[in-house]
């Protein structure tokens, strides 16, 4: 049975698209069939982060409006054959997303894939509502920062009230993914700690992704960090998060960058 997961946050710029790509690629590398779907109609970026921007022919809106079949719009990843992307439209606006159309496409995706990851647009309006509507579970991406936590709280409220599951009276499974975390600053009391964020939002923790240069380097070259730099600290955080999504029980820690002796010596000299 396919699982539909929405990656959401309310606030923009916290790492929804990066996390969708990284989690999607991490799940796909375990052999699961994964589709990542961009719901950010008009401002698509998942294709760019995944390195598929020049292979887009048809998009989600084309499929919704019946101009293309789902199979024509899906782009298979060149590095990982169990991973596919369904891009959003760049030219249309979010009003082109219809509730019936999205429902039909999500139904088709459920038949083809083990996991469907929906990359929600920022905000709380139509696009974000439709991205979460059919989800079985949600990953709430939050930065340890006041405005992000406030917006996440609002989104958690919406997940519990405006989704299909909520309307059927069923429980929506929600997971917190803390991104751009700086353990050094948190321990100095300069940044909200993961414990603070968890206490405030009170949903279970999926993982802690440390702030890292590898994330930007990966998106520069159009590759999810879990494909481009699988040994890096953020990639390991995403791999562990993916395993937790598949039901494994793992202790949660903040992965640290592994440094070779040369790096270490070099750092010392510079300092």
């Amino acid at each position: 049975m396919a699982k539909v997961l929405v990656v959401t946050s309310g606030k923009g710029g916290v790492g929804k698209t990066t996390s969708t790509a990284a989690l999607g690629a991490a799940l796909a590398q375990t052999g699961q069939n994964v589709a990542v779907v961009d719901f950010d109609v008009g401002l698509r970026n998942l294709d760019l982060v995944m390195g598929a921007e020049r292979r887009v022919v048809f998009d989600l809106i084309n499929v919704i409006q019946g101009d293309a079949k789902l199979a024509q719009a899906l782009i298979r990843d060149k590095r990982c054959e169990t991973l596919s992307i369904l891009p959003a439209s760049q030219t249309r606006d979010k009003d082109a997303l219809t509730a019936e159309g999205v429902e039909r496409v999500m139904g088709e995706l459920r038949e083809k894939f083990d996991w469907v990851l929906c990359d929600s647009p920022a905000g709380i309006e139509r696009g974000a509502q439709l991205a979460m509507y059919h989800a079985d579970l949600a990953v709430v991406v939050t930065n340890p920062e006041v405005s992000s936590v406030r917006d996440s709280d609002r989104i958690i409220g919406m997940l519990d009230s405006t989704t299909e599951r909520a309307k059927r009276g069923e429980k929506m499974e929600k997971h917190l993914l803390v991104t751009r975390y700086d353990p050094a600053r948190a321990s100095k009391g300069e940044m909200l700690s993961t414990e603070d964020v968890l206490e405030i939002l009170s949903i279970p923790l999926l993982g802690i992704v440390p702030e890292s240069e590898e994330v930007l380097r990966s998106s520069n070259v159009g590759s999810p960090v879990t494909l481009a730099h699988p040994d890096s600290a953020p990639a390991r955080a995403y791999f562990d998060s993916a395993r937790r999504l598949m039901g494994e029980k793992l202790d949660i820690s903040v992965p640290v960058e592994r440094k070779g002796l040369l790096d270490w010596l070099f750092k010392k000299r510079v300092a």
């Binding site: 006041v146 936590v149 406030r150 409220g157 948190a186 300069e190 700690s193 603070d196 405030i200």
Partner: protein, 94 residues
């Protein structure tokens, strides 16, 4: 001393952030859709009961629900009534 105060204030900005969020979200959650229906209903029905006996101004009724951090909520009802003497009584005793 002010040097020390500065030192500690700087160290604990995350604690300030946490406290501000907790207060703000307690308020925002209570004004969320579900509970605001409840408050509107309470507002109307409490007002009906009081109106049977005392003439009150609709705008002088404040109802607030605060979600506490320890799992309890506080319902605050603040109603301004005119001085209770025989002239303001609107009961049907006559």
């Amino acid at each position: 001393m002010s040097f020390l105060a500065n030192f500690f204030a700087k160290r604990n900005t995350s604690a300030v952030a946490r406290d501000r969020l907790q207060i703000l979200l307690a308020h925002e959650r209570s004004s969320g859709s579900g509970e605001s229906d409840l408050i509107a209903k309470l507002h109307r029905e409490i007002l009906e009961v009081i109106k049977r006996h005392v003439a009150v101004d609709q705008d002088k009724v404040q109802i607030k629900l605060d979600g506490g951090t320890d799992g309890r909520s506080m319902l605050e009802i603040d109603i301004e009534v005119p001085r209770l003497d025989s002239h303001t009584e609107v009961g049907h005793s006559a």
